[in-house]
Amino acid sequence: MKKNEIVNEVADLNLSYLLLAQRLVREDCATAMFRLGLSREVADLLGSLSLSQVVKLAASNVLLCRFRFDDHAIFSSLVHDDRNQALQQAHASILLLGRRSKRFANVAYINSLPMLRIAPAIDHNDD
């Protein structure tokens, strides 16, 4: 009984996630990619799914959306941060964007645009 409830809740969440994601992608693809943390290919595919495909995809016992703070070090530093909320959120959004670009960025394209290059961290461990 209880197990069934959980599966239903997961499927419900999947469906609302997919529907929301689809709406965002169709409205404005670039902004949706930013909000959802998706690559262009995935966003395009998501936007082109038919309703029946979405429903089929959602009916699963695993969640289709993923927790974005999957780096333990970053997550714990944000949680154990005693600064005010606004600063914490500002930090979180900067970190999320930094992580994204590392995971999905097309390196050749970025290096062709000098102003978008990022200087790597050089840690001398002096403290």
Binding site: R40, I74, A90, H91, R99, A119, H124
Partner: protein, 191 residues
């Protein structure tokens, strides 16, 4: 002059309207659209109900280095960078989209948007001109706005190591009534 396309002109006017609504200055509109100065002024007056502000645009790259400005400009530039590299947007479209997202984010956080639209655009121009760069913090690995050619070794961002006076102004020490937002509404002297 070049042959005029009505559709193209309509696009340009729509772009100018978007830009004016976001708070763009006249110099910026002139640089980004092919509409004449007179038409832009007319459009500006119609939308804002007053003449556009005169005077020079802010030109200092140092402004982006003070504590709060650096946090906000890093937030904006990270979004902008995403829009160009991942979203494959035109620079001007990327500025508009990322500035809207930046406004939305600060509003959500209950903070004042320190970075205005003109400064946001100037920020992207400074990056184009190789005056600024994104440096990676050695502690949190976030990317932050910094002077180009600054030494990279051991760079720590303003959020991991805030300056000692950060957020401690008269406003926050006397008017402290448990407000979480009050801290980010302060302005700081250049460090």
């Amino acid at each position: 002059m070049t042959t005029k396309s009505v559709i193209l002109e309509a696009h340009e006017i729509q772009l100018a309207i978007d830009l004016i609504n976001l708070g763009a200055r006249l110099q910026f509109l002139e640089a980004q659209t092919r509409l004449s100065r007179d038409r832009l002024i007319k459009l500006y007056k119609e939308l804002k109900g007053g003449s556009p502000p005169k005077g020079l645009l802010p030109f200092s790259a140092d402004w982006f280095m003070t504590w709060l400005s650096n946090i906000h400009s890093s937030m904006f530039y990270n979004i902008y960078r995403f829009m160009v590299t991942e979203g494959k947007c035109e620079p001007i479209v990327a500025v508009i989209k990322s500035y809207r997202l930046y406004l939305e984010q600060t509003e959500q956080q209950g903070a004042e948007s320190v970075l205005d639209f003109t400064r946001a655009w100037m920020l992207t121009r400074f990056f184009d001109a190789d005056l600024l760069q994104l440096s990676t913090c050695t502690r949190c690995h976030g990317h932050f706005v910094a002077h180009a050619h600054d030494p990279q070794s051991g760079f720590v961002c303003v959020l991991c190591r805030p300056p000692s006076r950060a957020g401690k102004t008269r406003k926050t020490t006397t008017g402290d009534s448990g407000e979480t937002q009050s801290c980010i509404n302060v302005s700081l002297e250049p460090i």
